[in-house]
């Protein structure tokens, strides 16, 4: 059984890597075939929660990922409606994870895809990400817990899936309701049917394999378990090969697509993502998959990411090709300190 699990994990990583490069080939921004943080940010823009005109589009990939996980969970009889494990804390952590991701310009998944495109700034991101996870692991070993979840109604568990599908259908029948970028990354998109299809497939596969970027590094440190890391490496290898074949591999620090060179802030941005995600029990991708499978705490986390994205653009926190902003640096600082306090309180409080 464990050998089959490992093969599935390699397969799902390979699928992610290949599909990500395919989506870029068909129109998604460079090294951004799939990016959970960027795409949730685009959705926040499409819903006019922020007014950054270049990043507004209701990305079908996100809808597909959640729906794919939902279908797979129901089909496998693993759909499990549950929630109630410190939802507001999770919401706040979701906001901070997004602030960290938009400092670096990418979620852990895009970090791997940037590495696969030859962007060396992502190596710095990976170092920060690892440091953040190590900090989270320290607290997990000391007993950090956001407490138990409880059973919820099936309807509650599927609410986020219903809302996302509803919004998506609305965007097809009444496209003018939603903002849509005419220039910039938000205007660059693969055809919606392809984007939705890829989302559905990898959402289903990611549910089956439990692929998680944070879990990969965490489990190696905690249990010397390389299972999840295999998926991480598989994405990297396959996406690198696909980029080489596609002519989209450019090794270097400068002129990388949707990226900047600043060691400190690439490091600290991803450190915040790693730390927050380790406390949440999974990276933004994993939160989408868990939400599809009925976990309303993960649904709350996604709403936190959505609100976080709106905050980032409304208050000028998000970085750009020019680099980080002063407001962004302050916000990442506040995020790191707040996450540390959340970790301390949930580790050392009296039972």
């Amino acid at each position: 059984m464990e050998k089959t699990q490992k093969l599935w994990m390699i397969f799902s990583g390979a699928l992610f890597g290949a599909f990500a490069v395919l989506l870029v080939r068909f129109g998604n921004p460079a090294n951004m075939g799939l990016c959970i943080a960027c795409f949730i940010r685009d959705i926040a823009g499409s819903m006019k929660l922020h007014q950054a005109g270049v990043v507004q589009y209701l990305r079908p990939e996100i809808v597909g990922l959640v729906l794919g996980a939902f279908i797979m969970a129901v089909a496998n009889k693993e759909y499990h409606a549950q929630g109630g494990s410190s939802p507001v804390t999770r919401f706040v952590l979701g906001i901070f994870v997004m602030i960290g991701a938009l400092m670096f310009l990418g979620c852990p998944l895009r970090m791997v895809l940037r590495l696969a495109g030859g962007d060396l700034n992502a190596v710095v991101g990976l170092l920060g990400f690892t440091a953040g996870i190590l900090l989270g692991v320290f607290f997990l070993q000391k007993g950090f817990s956001l407490k138990r979840t409880y059973q919820q109604s099936g309807f509650e568990g599927s609410m986020i899936t219903i809302v996302l599908v509803g919004l998506f259908v609305l965007s097809l029948v009444a496209p003018l309701l939603f903002a849509r970028s005419e220039t910039g990354p938000g205007s660059m998109a693969a055809p919606w049917l392809l984007a939705l299809g890829v989302g559905l497939i990898i959402g289903a596969v990611a549910h089956k394999t439990r692929l998680c970027m944070v879990g990969g590094i965490r489990d190696v440190v905690l249990f010397r378990d390389f299972h999840l890391l295999t998926g991480f490496l598989s994405i990297l290898v396959v996406a690198t090969l696909a980029n080489l074949l596609n002519g989209s591999f450019h090794l270097g620090w400068v002129n990388q697509p949707v990226a900047f060179q600043n060691f400190t802030w690439n490091f600290l941005g991803m450190a915040l993502v790693g730390f927050g995600s380790a406390l949440l029990g999974g990276c933004p991708l994993r939160q989408l998959i868990l939400a599809g499978a009925g976990n309303s705490d993960s649904a709350i986390t996604i709403l936190g990411l959505l609100v976080g994205a709106a905050i980032c653009h409304n208050f000028g926190l998000a970085s750009s090709l020019a680099g980080p902003t002063m407001a962004g640096k302050i916000a990442v600082g506040i995020g790191l300190i707040s996450t540390l306090i959340i970790a301390l309180v949930n580790t050392y409080r009296r039972p």
């Binding site: 693993e78 997990l140 817990s145 138990r148 979840t149 905690l222 249990f223 378990d225 299972h227 029990g281």
Partner: protein, 68 residues
Amino acid sequence: MKTIDARGLSCPEPVLVTKKAIQQELPVTILVDQQVAVENIVRFAHKEGLYDTVKIMDNYFSILISRQ
């Protein structure tokens, strides 16, 4: 024999409590409510050279971990 209730705990806590429990005594029973936790605990037990028996209960799983 000790029984540890890890139902409702989210990843990676079920494996962490298992790790702590097997350091104290064996055999031990862990209760979890998700398939993913079962897979993780079983994988962990095998890596530690231990054996497992998974029982499917009403709406949760009971995993017995022992030396044989």
